[in-house]
Point group: C2
Chain length 653, copies 2
Amino acid sequence: MPVFTEHAAASRELRVLPSFAPPLPRLTSTTPQTDKYEVLIVGAGPAGLMMELLLARYGLSDDSLLCIDAKSTTLKSGQADGVQPRTLETLKSLGLADEILCEGCQMWQVAFWNPSEDKEKIIERTSIIPDVAAPSRYPFEVTIHQGRIERILETDLLRYSKRGVQRNTKLLDVRMDEDGDAEYPVVAEIETDGQTRTVRSKFLIGADGAHSVVRRKMGLKLEGESSDHIWGVVDLVVDTDFPDIRRRCAIHSPAGSVMVIPRERIATGEYLTRLYVQVPGDVAHGDDLDLASGTGTPVVDARARRSQVTEKTIFDNAAAAFAPYYIRPKSDGAVDWWAAYQIGQRVTDRFSVKDSRGINRVFIAGDACHTHSPKAGQGMNVSMMDSYNLAWKLAYFINGLTPDGPNDILDTYHQERHTIAQQLIEFDKAFSSMFSGKIGPAEDGVDGLTHDEFMEVFRRGNGFTSGCGVEYPENMTVDRSSTENPIRGTDFLSGILYPGRRLLNVRLVRHADGYRRDIQDDFTSTGRFRILCLTSSDLLDPTGISAQALKALSQTIARFPASLLEQVVVHPRLPRDFMWNDIPREVKQHSEMSFYSGYEMDDVYGIYGVDPEKGALAIVRPDGYIGVIASLADISRADRYLETLIRTVQVDL
Amino acid sequence: MPVFTEHAAASRELRVLPSFAPPLPRLTSTTPQTDKYEVLIVGAGPAGLMMELLLARYGLSDDSLLCIDAKSTTLKSGQADGVQPRTLETLKSLGLADEILCEGCQMWQVAFWNPSEDKEKIIERTSIIPDVAAPSRYPFEVTIHQGRIERILETDLLRYSKRGVQRNTKLLDVRMDEDGDAEYPVVAEIETDGQTRTVRSKFLIGADGAHSVVRRKMGLKLEGESSDHIWGVVDLVVDTDFPDIRRRCAIHSPAGSVMVIPRERIATGEYLTRLYVQVPGDVAHGDDLDLASGTGTPVVDARARRSQVTEKTIFDNAAAAFAPYYIRPKSDGAVDWWAAYQIGQRVTDRFSVKDSRGINRVFIAGDACHTHSPKAGQGMNVSMMDSYNLAWKLAYFINGLTPDGPNDILDTYHQERHTIAQQLIEFDKAFSSMFSGKIGPAEDGVDGLTHDEFMEVFRRGNGFTSGCGVEYPENMTVDRSSTENPIRGTDFLSGILYPGRRLLNVRLVRHADGYRRDIQDDFTSTGRFRILCLTSSDLLDPTGISAQALKALSQTIARFPASLLEQVVVHPRLPRDFMWNDIPREVKQHSEMSFYSGYEMDDVYGIYGVDPEKGALAIVRPDGYIGVIASLADISRADRYLETLIRTVQVDL
């Protein structure tokens, strides 16, 4: 178009950049000091990177935050490959899901293969079911190289941090020394390229893996044991006539068990497959590597058996289990990676260590907390979610956003994540041992396992393994003490609101612009608490319960630091069409772009268990888990919950 | 998991990187030479960047490809903001849609405001309709800063090109000189920081905007004229009680016309709004800036009127049109950009220039080809789609993938895009003049415009403005000469297959893994032709028409350079469940990961107009437009179409 007069503001040109997450408000001050950091993170795997990224996005600068890793590059990393639905939701809330969704392998189905009664067929497909049964925004798992997840996290980190991860740096020792400096009581000796230095920090996160130095130095105990089964795992491009090679498969054949995990497409245009292959025979119970002490001394008998596992034995066992179908590497070089392992399930007894004043100062996260078998695809997920749970609590504490008082929000990290780690181990034990077992009648004194029993463990586990069924126990951030619960229903996995559960995604239509939108996109991971107000059908009545609640909530929002509370409002079907001036002005004031009809797409009230005649209110934590539920008549309940967690501010009235 | 034996291939570590598009095969050779390039692109706006990115992804290296731009940075750029549904599909096919979809403003609805019969109300909302009526994968427009689109394209470009755009470099002159070097006949004088040098190229693309030097130097003519209406445009954060400020609005008030374009959220957390405001009074016809000659001399009267347009006049006119609602900048600095312009509609007579052998050597794309009003949000889209149309044709020609012969695939660029440019101008004239007119009865001898008439222009235009209704005329890449058309129906906009139209997205379920998938994700912009085979319901019959067609297509695929033809197979509901070994082996051989059921999600056969009893076949061009349609009994028709466009190779049988 021919423009003849033009004027532009200087700020306009900044709009070409990707958006940045808004930092959290900060009420405390801090001064950069040499070799002192507010947070020191040890280890830059999925747990450590997620922790650093979140803290950087919440506003901690390179002066305040240091993450070290012993490795020299991001490339050499673990071999986890499964990304669960809840993890995908979390990555989406950080704007980091697209590459994973588009270029990972979406795993939609699982097929069960069992011995056939027809001896010529040997095995047959018993059923195909959805891989993810729990309702979720992303009803599938994704498999993708762990290193790629790490690269995605680190690329985003470098938008917020100039330093990123300080590599080639290992932790030698860590101890608590309050006498030297009570504000920075954690003392770490670290070594970079042979140079040792001492670094003090307010908090230290040990995300340093299964052999965690932090765990050992802080005297935390990894409890549990190895099972007696040996497995081989191999990633490769296969040539096979097995019909379900692109589905996740649980194959119980007379010759042994195999799990098939389809994986992502690679640069050649071909697709990877991962096989977990049972290596027959058992190692005696207790013959496990001593991971807790890190000495790794196996008992001789077990070592001998393990040393016999080679690429060839893994393939031979796989080929036997696939019979009568053939399976082989597609070409020379088609084998990408292989390893042998013994299943072990362990949990560390405590996830944090306090100073003498009772403040949690050292935390462990990820594999440092829990080890388990890889077959349910949990490792990378539980690790990242450990950090996702801790990061906002730590940022609130550091930024002075939590009130003074006897309660410590940092206690809730162990309370919540240790519970999850124990559930993980219990599920993994059940799943692994059934998977290692044989389907069919009892034989040689060993109990047989029916297909139905196996399916039942798989089904029950799905809420947990998808991450969507995680339920945190009651604690100061999860308040279930309601006397008057406005929510009907108990099927929390399907969306019924419940403190300690994540807010299920629903689709709704925005009033302001007709945008058909996912509610989770208003619950992004910017560290804010959200008020989710589901109004009653009296919204158009200026003296109704909804109008009163919205007015009271407006005062609630004003009582806490600016921007820390966001409000999302949903309305049920109303008696007539309306415009902004027909509803309480507080809706437009606080929620112009987060005000929705809750019936045009999904039946939001039905899914969340809310009576449209009565409405309801939920406070959602920064990590998307519901903190408390209240009726619209009882806003003070929400106030009390928030006051426990967030410092109030002076309000100019 | 405790791993005790491990082996990894070296290539494994590359898998952490984002995927790269596979380059096109190349049958010709080329040697890097100083100051000689296969393609020189002038201008790095949306058209130039899209061209460079596509050619780089198709495999042209920095030795072969040079893009220059006179500006020193990507930041200063145009003010277009609309991204249309078809453009979104195209960006998605390049893996570049996510940021735009998530951080742009999704515009779902348009509201029409007209004079009210109630004098106190002054204006009232007549209706709200969906902004995009055409079926599309993305049923909305997105508004976002043009500079951001450019930054996204350039970021991706830098994965494929080390140099990226060579900035601070302007084109001084361009001419054809076959005598000097017939292989590199295009001679360009370019200047970088005061240094002049001569560059030869095989092909040159003038993507250098409305004042194109390429166009002028090559003697191409911009035809058309300016209208008599003056408009102001302003981007700002508004404070208003107008209820539809977050919807696209066409406001026809007694005091004048305003168009409201909601825009993206900015760093402050606030949302931008764009207003197009009519400035009352007309400039005499023909009083336009002489863009063609570039001298820009306006007639005195028009200049005087234009100079009166200021930020204040724009706001005063806007405020008057919004009455009785108030509208004002939210705060100091809320005005982001403002400009005044006069609508002009022009098209260049020819989009390319041939050498003496009849080979097209110089092309123009984008604003160099067409200028028009900004209100339909077309500029950036048509410009990028010009390049999207030309790039694969040019790459095929350069790589020697086109057969020798009298036909020149490069002719089709002008044939197709000039047609679209003319349609654009015609729509824009109708839309702009109706928008500039008043709604209501005839007055002072000027014909009145009814709301229904306006809506009709808006509706009819939607297929075109969304980009989804684009229909290329018949040419060597669009073959409609079918004697036996297997397609029923004529509602091409709604998906009925038709040569020259883009393949509408449908959702289907993949056989191999149950992935619920968008068909367009198998039609990515990697420069490949695709065979879309919709089998008939006799697929399970080894001697049926489907089996015969698939066998013949397998031979077709082998006759062209490896990887250049991809096959997507869809089946209708079949008489029974099946596994791979129940269907022709060619399906798994060529389409293991692109074989779908076409009835479990969308009714693919119904949408595409294909009889499930008979099936059908379409060849889809690399840019997603259908080239030819054939019945399953007539594969030779597809063969003939492909042979016209692609060189065949020796087949070892």
